[in-house]
């Protein structure tokens, strides 16, 4: 099933939660909506599910106008951040709920419902918990039951709101891999919302980066990481060093000193230079366009992370750099720095 969202606008009072959002999700995709809190990602998900209504715009599920139907008629599986399991029902009854509330004409008989619930509990590997109540389960188990419950209605699409947000780090990692494997088996078109970039990049086929109610970039995890479209995306995904620079006539200056890098077509004026921590080359003093004193070095794994105070320019700028451990840096050492890969974006006020 495909999902198409066209020109969606949603306002809460004067605050625009969604500002003209367009999105197309293909059949069988596992899409991540990634953004900081308040970026509108959950609102968008709830609008697709029918739990919220847009002020303007269209939502098409499989080409059919979804806004003409209420949430209960959209056949959309929704998994809530805090699970929202029915606390007075056993795990079994929770999963069976969607089947039991079907109109009598299409409702399955008890034996079929039981078999189906059993199948779903097997799928999430929790069939042995079927008589427990939600309060007796761990967070990870609750989330898997919530997923089984959503799948029970054979949803056309599956929507997950911060599915792992309330879980601890270890369980979260496992569930991530599990969700990806599950998706590659059942191939339901799915959208999940997250504020965790690692989660988005690791699980999704495509990532939609949102900020302030707008879509900043849509792309594969590789695209959004390696070719961020906007300053926001560059700053939000991956760790970046951001330096205020001036661009004029193709040359780039930091605090008045020219940097030996090309402007790459960036417009003249106040700009921001974005460099990934590991894309800053460290060399002996005098060999690069930036210079600074190493203040502090921490070594772990394959890298050493150095805190460098840039010399020159107004004020003291301290940046963090990831360098390979081929040459151990010393605190107090003067080094030169040269951006290997970088992006320049016009500075927003």
């Amino acid at each position: 099933m495909t999902i198409e969202v066209k020109n969606i606008v949603k306002k809460f009072g004067s605050f625009a939660a969604l500002d003209n959002v367009d999105l197309k999700v293909d059949q069988g995709e596992l899409l991540a909506l990634l953004g900081p809190s308040g970026s509108g990602k959950t609102t968008l998900l709830r609008i697709i599910a029918g739990l919220d209504w847009p002020d303007a715009g269209e939502v098409l599920i499989d080409g059919e106008n979804a806004l003409a139907r209420g949430a209960s008629e959209r056949h959309v599986g929704f998994v809530f951040q805090h699970y929202a399991l029915f606390r007075h029902m056993t795990v079994f009854e929770n999963v069976a709920f969607g089947l039991r509330v079907q109109p009598r004409a299409i409702r399955k008989d008890e034996a079929t419902i039981r078999a189906r619930v059993k199948e779903l509990l097997d799928l999430v590997q929790l069939d042995w918990l079927s008589d427990r109540y939600p309060s007796q389960l761990s967070g990870g188990q609750r989330q898997r039951i919530a997923l089984a419950r959503a799948l029970a209605i054979e949803p056309r699409i599956l929507l997950l709101d911060e599915p792992f947000g309330a879980l601890d780090a270890k369980v979260r990692k496992e569930l991530r891999q599990w969700l990806r494997s599950l998706h590659s088996e059942i191939h339901v078109t799915s959208i999940f919302v997250t504020h965790d970039q690692e989660e988005a990049l690791e699980v999704a086929n495509r990532v939609v980066v949102m900020d302030k109610g707008r879509i900043e970039q849509i792309g594969t995890p590789g695209e959004v990481y390696d070719h961020p479209a906007t300053a926001f995306v560059h700053g939000f995904i991956g760790e970046s060093i951001v330096l205020p620079v001036d661009v004029s006539g193709g040359s780039v200056r930091l605090g008045g000193r020219p940097l030996n890098i090309a402007a790459n077509g960036a417009a003249s004026g106040a700009s921001k230079l974005f460099v990934r921590r590991h894309d800053m080359q460290i060399g002996p003093a005098g060999s690069g366009s930036l210079e600074g004193a190493v203040r502090h070095v921490r070594s772990f794994g394959p890298i050493q992370r150095a805190e460098v105070a840039l010399s020159g320019g107004e004020g003291k700028t301290i940046i963090e750099i990831d360098a390979p451990r081929d040459r151990e840096l010393q605190a107090g050492e003067i080094v030169s720095l040269q951006p290997r890969r970088y992006r320049i974006f016009a500075a927003q006020d």
Binding site: G28, A49, G50, L51, A71, S72, E73, R74, V76, G77, F78, F80, H82, Y83, A84, L85, F86, R87, H88, F97, G98, V101, Q102, R116, E119, L120, D122, L123, V124, Q125, L129, R132, P134, S135, Q136, S138, G140, Q141, R144, A146, R149, A150, L151, A152, I153, E154, P155, R156, A166, K170, V171, E174, L175, Q177, W178, S181, E185, I186, H187, V188
Partner: protein
């Protein structure tokens, strides 16, 4: 639609993908474990004051309760049975007494039923939706608590009395509200309205709307959502509210006294009859009716304690 059918057909292959780490689940909390927080705040663990101080405080509290609560209760029953059980039963068998009991039960049944419906609707509206004037509505719900019951009764006299707002119209159509059952029921409904709504609002607010949203997204209709999800979640709170509402409805004196007209054998409820009989020096009869109300209070107290325990247990521990 072909993709949908494949959702679970491959359940067995997928077993392999399920995460393994949290399969070692902690056993469900046993009764002892659940009781632990309770013992944590038991008096045994709060020995912060020296012995004599504790003794004095406890003695004061017990003495106070004995004098002001237990003693009157004992007096009620002692006076009721002072002339023997025969006289007691005879007093309750009087037509006037039977009529008062019947009227009280009828009024309680009407007002509890209506307040159950209105209370749930009001609590639902307040807890689950945001709308302008919500704070005003919450304040309004509390109004019967803050107004003197006599005033509450008087309001209905002003509305439906002969000189009242609707008086002429009612008279023209021969409809009797004041000094009749409808007036007594209206006054009782007004006075007892907050109980159900008040006991549900915090509960429903705490539970939020997520379970309802989940039910709707699973295809449940509004009614199915209410009866299968909302109602089971609030049932203990609802019973609690109904219980208190009923106790107040049966015991209400002030408001009912104003609108009843005190027509013997017709518009006297139990509390009104207690006063009338007492004023006529029929102490045994008066205390016999009073003893019924006292028993109602005792039963209410026991049921309330049980319900409060169920409410505490129903409280799910917050997500971790």
């Amino acid at each position: 639609m072909s993709t949908q059918s494949s959702v679970v057909t491959s359940a067995t292959e997928l077993r392999a993908y399920a995460p393994t780490a949290d399969l070692t689940v902690s056993p469900p909390p046993s009764r002892i474990e659940r009781a632990r927080p309770r013992t944590g705040t038991s008096p045994d663990n709060l020995r912060t004051e020296p012995g004599p101080v504790r003794f004095i405080i406890i003695t004061l509290a017990v003495t106070f309760l004995s004098v002001f609560v237990v003693l009157p209760l004992v007096v009620v029953f002692a006076s009721a049975f002072s002339k023997g059980i025969g006289t007691y039963l005879a007093a309750l068998g009087e037509p006037e007494a039977l009529s008062a009991i019947k009227l009280t039960l009828l009024v309680a049944a009407i007002s509890v039923t209506l307040n159950l419906v209105f209370g749930v609707i009001a609590a639902w509206a307040i807890a689950k939706f945001d709308f302008t004037g919500k704070t005003f509505l919450i304040t309004l719900i509390d109004l019967p608590f803050s107004v003197s019951p006599v005033i509450s009764g008087l309001v209905f006299v002003l509305l439906f009395g002969a000189q009242g707002f609707f008086g002429t119209w009612l008279q023209a159509h021969d409809i009797h509200i004041l000094f009749a059952v409808p007036g007594i029921a209206l006054a009782t409904i007004f006075v007892t309205f907050p109980f159900v709504a008040r006991s549900l609002i915090p509960l429903m607010q705490e539970q939020g709307t997520q379970e309802e949203e989940a039910a709707i997204s699973l295809g449940a209709s509004g009614l199915q959502t209410f009866f299968r999800v909302t109602l089971p979640n609030i049932k203990w709170g609802l019973l609690y509210g109904v219980l208190l509402c009923n106790a107040r409805a049966m015991g209400e004196f002030g408001a009912v006294s104003v609108v009843s007209g005190h027509i013997r054998g017709e518009t006297n409820t139990m509390p009104l009859l207690v006063e009338i009989l007492y004023n006529e020096y029929q102490f045994v009869a008066s205390f016999a009716i009073a003893s019924l109300l006292a028993m109602l209070a005792l039963i209410t107290l026991v049921v309330k304690t049980v319900l409060e325990r169920r409410l505490d247990e129903g409280q799910e521990p917050r997500d971790h």
